[in-house]
């Protein structure tokens, strides 16, 4: 795109180094700190140690393991439900014409701008009333709802690319609408479904606000909110422990992302750009 003039080369290298340092040094600092022995916590050494005992210490803590397990349960459940519901809704929005369709679509889209904190003020008493406070399904349900707008719109964008003629050909062949959907159309949207599955997983894994409020007992906490409780007060100065826990909490989403990056970026940006 650009001509490689001297000016461009200077621009390129200056920003590559500056932004590169800003982006990557903190990542490395987190990892480096987590690998230090406790006695070296305040030394400014950079990758001089490779001490896995902090990671082991975090992973052998039974409370942390409970958080970790709950985190996975909630993230996987949210991911599954969110994807299935979004596929149906996205297909409906894309290929069906009925009264009220456009209003429902707009409403779901706009709801992204409803303040999550405001919703919580009603969700808390509601969950309390139906006895779901401090139960994992309460936050799963919340995450499914909160990931729904991006989910439906991204999958709608996928279905929009499927020509109606495919559906018509299937109809002519005598396939019912439901069979056409499950056997022909949905398989075509698998990349889009992967995108939403990852998106919802990451949302549920990372969320703090809902996990912090709707869950109140140690046994039911997810990882992100659990870490808040582990490292406040007394634990607030255990920087090595905090970095070790942060590394452990980051690995599942980072690894998933590295392997599935292609689906993710293309899918999400396509959904948002095309609307």
């Amino acid at each position: 795109m650009f001509q490689k003039t001297v000016g461009f080369k200077i621009f390129f290298w200056v920003f590559l180094i500056m932004i590169g340092f800003f982006a990557f040094f903190p990542q490395l600092w987190m990892i480096s700190t987590s690998l230090k022995p406790e006695s070296e916590m305040f030394a400014f050494s950079f990758f001089s140690y490779f001490d896995l005992s902090n990671i082991v210490r975090v992973l052998s803590d039974s409370t942390f393991l409970t958080y970790l397990r709950n985190g996975f349960v909630v993230a996987i459940a949210s991911s599954l439900f969110s994807t299935v519901i979004s596929v149906f809704a996205g297909y409906s929005f894309s290929k069906f014409r009925y009264r009220g369709r456009k209003s429902v679509m707009a409403l779901i889209m706009v709801s992204q701008a409803f303040p999550q904190g405001l919703l919580l003020l009603s969700l808390y008493p509601m969950m309390q009333k139906i006895g779901m406070l401090d139960k994992l399904p309460s936050i799963v349900l919340a995450y499914v709802a909160l990931t729904l707008p991006v989910g439906t719109w991204t999958l709608k964008a996928y279905f929009d690319q499927v020509p109606v003629s495919i559906m018509e050909a299937a109809r002519v062949d005598g396939s019912s609408e439901w069979r056409t959907m499950f056997q022909i159309i949905i398989p075509l949207a698998i990349p889009g479904m992967m995108t939403i599955a990852i998106y919802s997983f990451v949302w549920a894994w990372n969320d703090l606000l809902y996990a912090l409020t709707l869950i109140s007992s140690t046994a039911n906490r997810t990882l992100a909110s659990g870490m808040v409780f582990t490292f406040t007060g007394e634990g607030g100065n255990d920087w090595i422990g905090m970095m070790a826990a942060s590394v452990v909490a980051s690995i599942p989403v980072a690894a998933m992302f590295v392997f599935l990056q292609r689906y993710f970026i293309a899918g999400l940006t396509a959904g948002a750009v095309k609307g």
Binding site: P115, Y124, L148, T269
Partner: protein, 291 residues
């Protein structure tokens, strides 16, 4: 209406039903109900609530802290949107050069965005730590500071700290969208403007920016909505302090409801927050309908 088109519409509704149920139950009802709560003196712990009319709103608008809250929120949204936007834009232009390793660098940068906010909050609290943080150590060593700065404890520096962390988290997100937009820039047009004698900068301003303008507008709107909602980093790094210096609607509504238990006051504040957000969602709707 014939039978098959009725069946068609029915199937459309059946497919949307699960999503609609979750949506109504978990988003629409709570939204409306929270607005109603804002007209009561409802408490998080005691169930009985009285209708108090506009009392909560009167209190909010006679409180000097509310003005400060709006101002702090705007500051946070402004800097945390434009900071990562420009860094993301430059990084996208660099990565778009497709040099050896560019794909790797793009992927690793995106890790910032994907990892939990709690991890990012811990990391930057550690970097900004006043006594033992690496930032102070580096700046003192380079001679830029002669003493340690208590970044998270200072009224002006705490905002800088959370905005920096948020910028670090979000710039790869802007980059991803901008890189998508750059793919649609026509090489021929770039070539043509070069033949007309434009230099790199002129070509960027007159060819590239107009071509990616829809994406740029979209991410600025979505980015601002995201920042107006943002809770994690502020809550972890400063909790809104010191002395409300980083207190935004997201942290204040949470605090009022779940630390001070006054749901009514918190809801009224939340409604003001929603109005602020509706400005941006208005832009967003308009932008979608233009397509």
């Amino acid at each position: 209406m014939n039978r098959s088109s009725r069946n068609h519409a029915l199937m459309g509704w059946i497919l949307i039903l699960p999503a609609l149920t979750v949506f109504v139950l978990m988003i629409l009802y709570p939204f409306v109900n929270s607005i109603l709560i804002s007209f009561t003196d409802r408490n998080l712990i005691y169930a009985n609530a009285q209708f108090v009319g506009l009392e909560n709103y009167r209190k909010i608008f006679s409180d000097i802290n509310t003005l400060k809250l709006i101002w702090t929120t705007c500051k946070f949204v402004f800097f945390s949107t434009l900071g990562p936007f420009f860094i993301g834009l430059i990084w996208a232009l660099l990565m778009n050069q497709k040099f050896k390793g560019s794909e790797f660098l793009r992927g690793v940068a995106l890790v910032n965005w994907i990892i939990p906010g709690i991890a990012i909050g811990f990391l930057w609290s550690w970097i900004f730590n006043g006594d033992y943080g690496i930032l102070n150590a580096l700046l003192v060593k380079l001679g830029l500071l002669d003493h340690n700065v208590i970044w998270l404890g200072g009224k002006s520096t705490s905002m800088l700290a959370v905005v920096t962390a948020r910028t670090w988290q979000m710039f790869p997100w802007y980059m991803a969208f901008i890189m998508g937009g750059l793919q649609g820039v026509s090489a021929q047009q770039c070539e043509a403007s070069r033949i007309d004698g434009a230099n790199n900068f002129q070509m960027f301003i007159h060819v590239v920016v107009p071509a990616i303008k829809p994406v740029l507008t979209l991410i600025l709107i979505l980015g601002a909505i995201g920042n107006l909602q943002h809770f994690d980093l502020i809550n972890v790094m400063t909790g809104g302090g010191p002395e409300r210096a980083t207190s935004t609607f997201a942290t204040e509504v949470y605090k009022k409801a779940f630390k001070e238990y006054s749901l009514g006051r918190s809801a009224a504040l939340g409604v003001v927050w929603a109005l602020l957000l509706s400005v941006f969602s208005g832009f967003y709707l308009k932008r979608i309908q233009e397509d």
